[in-house]
């Protein structure tokens, strides 16, 4: 029962925003702008709530599970350091920028390096375990992408026949990416329609 007014509100909001998009310069478009601004403010406030919830969860975990809350303590220490540094030095300060960026870069780059190594090992395992046509296809596609996107043939200007070959190879990921994007777009449209007609109510809790 409680989802009924929420559903009505969501449907009306979606219809008004969509109508404002199709009829610019009207009251509907004005309402759409105000609705968007309200949504941005709510999203920003939700981010603050998410940060506060994160701190509370880890704070409670420290006192509830002292032996298993080592990383929670590190998280809280890093948060408090950056928070008070930003308040003291302001975000435009070079020291603050270098200090925070260094932590972020190292952590994120390390994670990406691990991801690359794990993917490389997975490729070798795949070739080792699955001795089938699928492994051959996967190997061939890997080789092609390495050659095309790495600029391996960027120096082979003496091979005139290579240019159309590279164009054909480049069209393969392009076709796949288009298919994925079209699927995403159609899915987004269907999701929007389901929300508008009330068939999908993810906001009802």
């Amino acid at each position: 029962m409680k989802s009924i007014p929420v559903t009505i509100l969501a449907i009306l909001s979606g219809i008004v925003v969509l109508a404002g998009f199709f009829f610019p310069g009207t009251m509907l478009s004005v309402f759409r702008i105000y609705a968007l601004e309200l949504a941005i403010i709510l999203a920003a406030f939700a981010s603050l709530i998410a940060i506060a919830n994160l701190i509370i969860v880890h704070w409670n975990k420290i006192f509830s599970e002292p032996r298993q809350s080592f990383y929670s303590a590190i998280l809280l220490a890093g948060f408090l350091c950056i928070f008070f540094a930003g308040i003291i030095f302001t975000p435009a300060n070079t020291f603050f920028s270098k200090f925070s960026a260094t932590v972020i870069f190292t952590v994120e780059s390390s994670l990406l390096a691990l991801l690359c190594l794990s993917l490389a090992v997975a490729c070798f395992k795949l070739f080792q375990k699955r001795k089938s046509g699928l492994a051959v296809v996967f190997g061939i596609s890997t080789i092609i992408f390495l050659l095309t996107f790495s600029g391996f043939f960027s120096t082979a200007i003496q091979f005139s026949w290579l240019k159309p070959f590279l164009a054909i190879i480049n069209s393969l990921p392009l076709a796949g990416a288009r298919g994925i994007l079209l699927g995403i777009s159609i899915g987004a449209i269907v999701t929007g329609l389901r929300v508008l007609i009330g068939a999908d109510r993810p906001y009802s809790g």
Binding site: I40, T94, L112, I143, G151, F152, S154, T155, A177
Partner: protein, 805 residues
């Protein structure tokens, strides 16, 4: 009042009053307008001048009395009533006359065949009447009360009138007795009227008069000594007198024809037994109870209620021998025994009580009568109880049933009442003795157990009679014991598993599979192949060594790109146009969509770009839809600004911050940036999104880049869109590039190298990464190909070995 009524009657002489509803109708009206009563009956039309006998009911009693006194005594009221009666009464009389004629014919026939009245159907009808006497007496009580009230009213109204006409009516009744078709009730009423008019002393009427039919009371009252015999002017009709003159010889057939048939047979038998004229106060049907002692008749016969008469009647009926050819044997035996005993007992009691009654006759006649009635009632109650019990002396007992019939299911009834009927229906014939039959041994052996047990259980079940509760006395009405008696153990099933050999093999295979898995986990440790281990060590070491070597040494083995991607060319052209073609410093919106993982790659991509823009002292505004985006963007700009110390970061670079809301926030920012972008102190920050010269999006996340591209293309299609994307997001952004939603793109390290080649940038760090990438890609391709070939060789070798063996 009478005068007024006469005047009103004269004034309304032309009006006709309905005898039924007393409504006034026109003189020529055929039926009453109110009730539809026929106002012009046929008999009245024939004799319109004769007064209607019902007019006496309608007119004032006083006037009736006066009229009757003044009227001619020759004009009899009864005569007029017989002639001027209404149509319905005439029909009743006619029907009565026809019935009496039929009864006369039937009586003549009965006299010729005296056995017929004791037919079974007649006895049953009489018995049914007797049994229902108590119930009908209560019903008759109400009806009798109503009749008594009407009679009393009539007595009050017409007592004087009829008394004056009594003499004439007596004559008429004596003359037309044979033809008079008035029923007994009417006659008794008129006799009562006459008695009341004769001003005789009132007789004591029992309080329970309502239970006695009125005409009986009237008859009893009229037959009191000194009133019936001594009165010379007995107004009762001659045909009525035959009820009271029992001592007279047998009446003529013509007189008997007027007696109802239900009285006739008993009257014929009892006329000879009645010796005293003291019983003449009772009607014939009551006087036929010849079993009653004369003393009771003499003392208080008129006060006997109906139920006593019924009991007496039953006693008399039992005394009467019934034709044996009609009744069954067992009935005749039992009835003969019972009746002989009962008659002897009753007669003995009668003698005793007669003597006692003679002693106490003058003192308490009613009490004596009642005492006798009690005794008789007890006897009758005993008889009735014997009859009601029925099973006290059933036609045959269960133990008398032959043994060969005990197991016969046809005789096993399911209810208490059916047992009684069955016992009455199946009378064993003593003449035809059937020897107990016995099934052959082979047939007994073939009988299943269920064919015997249920019969036994039903036999025992039918013998159970409820002894308490509302169902006490009923048999076989509760079936709670059925399940206990008819319970049989459940069928036995074998617990062995029927399985085929194929199923057994499959089950063994399944069990073996699970067993092997356990063995693998417990017994076998992973076998370490030295060759594989060496390969696993060599490959990473080789990769790391080659990359380090390529990055540290500037060898000429790795060439710089000569072929440039088209998007990179367009990207470089647009940047050059912003720097060279515009007079003012370009205002570039830097959209940073990265979490920092690809920060090194993005730094290589954007360093030459920012250096290029800083040459023109471009204004850079940083915004991001990720929390870390603005921080990373400032870091990139600060890194690029190292080679341009004259570029004032504080004035030319603006951090617009984090843009929450995803696509909604991006849309809102694009539509109205004046409120979204906080008004900083920097004047170079444009007030609207359209004032930006170009949008430079730096991203390693294709999803976030897609949102920006779609919203900018939708709302700000004229905006110059430049993208510097990491290699991992390039494939997903290629469609937007192909559709010109992205004007120029620097895609990966290959795009950065191409852009550096285009702008003739000699950044050493860029080319070192270029060498590393190209070396690493070459090694990976070689390893993949080498590994594929190795496994292919193994496959071929394994496929050839079995053939050779």
């Amino acid at each position: 009042m009478a005068q007024i009524a006469l005047i009103v009657a004269k004034t309304m002489k032309n009006m006709k009053i309905c005898p039924l509803c007393k409504k006034e109708n026109l003189e020529d009206a055929a039926i009453c307008i109110n009730c539809g009563f026929d106002l012009n009956p046929s008999f009245s039309a024939d004799q319109p001048d004769q007064p209607d006998w019902l007019e006496s009911f309608r007119n004032d009693p006083e006037s009736n009395v006066r009229d009757s006194l003044t009227s001619d005594p020759n004009s009899s009221g009864l005569d007029s009533s017989s002639e001027d009666s209404p149509d319905w009464l005439a029909r009743v009389r006619e029907r009565k006359h026809v019935d009496e004629e039929f009864e006369a014919i039937q009586d003549n026939h009965n006299l010729q065949n005296p056995v017929l009245p004791n037919s079974k159907g007649t006895n049953e009808l009489i018995d049914s009447f007797r049994n229902n006497s108590l119930s009908t007496s209560a019903e008759n009580a109400g009806a009798d009360d109503l009749i008594d009230r009407l009679r009393n009213a009539e007595d009050d109204n017409y007592s004087s009138e009829i008394s004056a006409e009594s003499g004439l009516s007596n004559k008429i009744s004596s003359e037309d007795a044979a033809d008079l078709t008035i029923d007994d009730d009417w006659i008794s009423r008129f006799s009562q009227i006459e008695n009341s008019s004769s001003e005789e002393p009132q007789k004591v009427i029992p309080k329970n008069r309502g239970s006695i039919p009125a005409w009986i009371q009237q008859q009893a009252a009229d037959r009191t000594p000194g009133t019936t015999e001594d009165s010379p002017e007995n107004p009762v009709a001659e045909w009525i007198e035959k009820y009271g003159t029992r001592d007279e010889p047998a009446p003529e057939s013509g007189d008997e024809s007027k007696i109802p048939d239900w009285i006739q047979p008993l009257d014929d038998e009892d006329t000879g037994d009645l010796e005293n004229g003291e019983e003449e106060g009772f009607p014939a049907w009551l006087a036929d109870k010849d079993s009653l002692p004369p003393a009771s008749m003499e003392t208080g016969g008129q006060s006997q209620p109906d139920w006593i008469d019924e009991i007496n009647q039953q006693t008399v009926d039992e005394d009467q021998p019934a034709p044996e050819e009609i009744l069954p044997d067992w009935i005749t035996e039992d009835s003969s025994e019972d009746s002989s005993e009962q008659v002897s007992t009753v007669l003995a009691k009668k003698d005793i009580e007669e003597s006692e009654v003679k002693k106490t006759q003058s003192k308490a006649p009613l009490k004596t009568t009642m005492g006798l009635d009690e005794n008789v009632g007890k006897k009758a109650g005993k008889i009735e109880s014997d009859r009601s019990e029925g099973i006290a002396k059933p036609p045959f007992q269960l133990d008398q049933v032959p043994s060969w019939l005990e197991n016969n299911e046809d005789l096993i009834n399911t209810s208490f009442f059916e047992d009684k009927e069955t016992k009455e229906a199946f009378v064993p014939d003593s003449t035809n003795q059937i020897e107990p039959g016995e099934l052959p041994a082979w047939l007994k052996a073939m009988r299943p157990l269920e064919a015997i047990i249920p019969a036994i259980s039903r036999l025992t079940e039918n013998k159970h009679i409820e002894r308490s509760g509302p169902l006490a006395g009923l048999k076989g009405v509760l079936s709670s014991q059925d399940s206990n008696q008819t319970y049989s153990p459940p069928p036995m099933y074998t617990s062995t598993l029927n399985i085929t050999e194929k199923e057994m093999n499959q089950a063994a295979i399944l069990d073996q599979l699970f067993t092997e898995d356990v063995d693998i986990q417990t017994k076998h440790n992973p076998i370490v192949d030295i060759g594989a281990f060496i390969i696993r060590l060599i490959i990473p070491i080789l990769l790391v060594g080659l990359l380090v070597f390529s990055s540290l040494t500037q060898t000429g083995l790795i060439e710089r790109p000569i072929l440039f991607p088209s998007e990179t060319v367009r990207f470089a052209s647009i940047i050059n146009g912003l720097i060279l073609n515009s007079e003012a410093a370009p205002q570039i919106l830097v959209v940073m969509e990265s979490e920092g993982a690809s920060q090194a790659e993005l730094e290589i991509l954007t360093r030459s770009v920012f250096e290029r823009l800083m040459l023109k002292d471009s204004a850079l505004s940083i915004i991001s839809s990720t929390p870390n985006g603005t921080l990373l963007g400032e870091n990139l700009i600060q890194t690029a600004a190292v080679k341009h110390p004259g570029y004032d970061l504080d004035k030319r670079v603006t951090n617009l911050g984090y843009l929450p809301g995803g696509s909604s926030g991006i849309q809102g920012f694009l539509l109205d940036n004046s409120e979204t972008i906080y008004p900083s102190a920097i004047d170079e920050v444009p007030d609207s999104f359209s004032n930006f010269s170009a949008v430079l999006m730096i991203t390693d996340n294709a999803e976030s880049a897609k949102l920006w591209i779609e919203q900018i293309t939708l709302h700000r299609p004229q905006t110059v869109m430049l993208v510097a994307a990491a290699a991992q997001s390039v494939p997903m952004l290629m469609p937007y590039l192909e559709s010109n939603q992205i004007d120029g793109m620097e895609a990966g390290l290959y795009g950065a190298a191409s852009y550096a080649q285009l702008i003739q940038n000699e950044d050493s760090s860029l080319w070192s990464f270029w060498n590393m990438q190209k070396t690493g890609v070459s090694v990976f391709i070689l390893l993949i190909i080498a590994g594929g070939l190795w496994y292919l060789a193994q496959f071929l070798l394994k496929s050839k070995l079995p053939k050779s063996r």
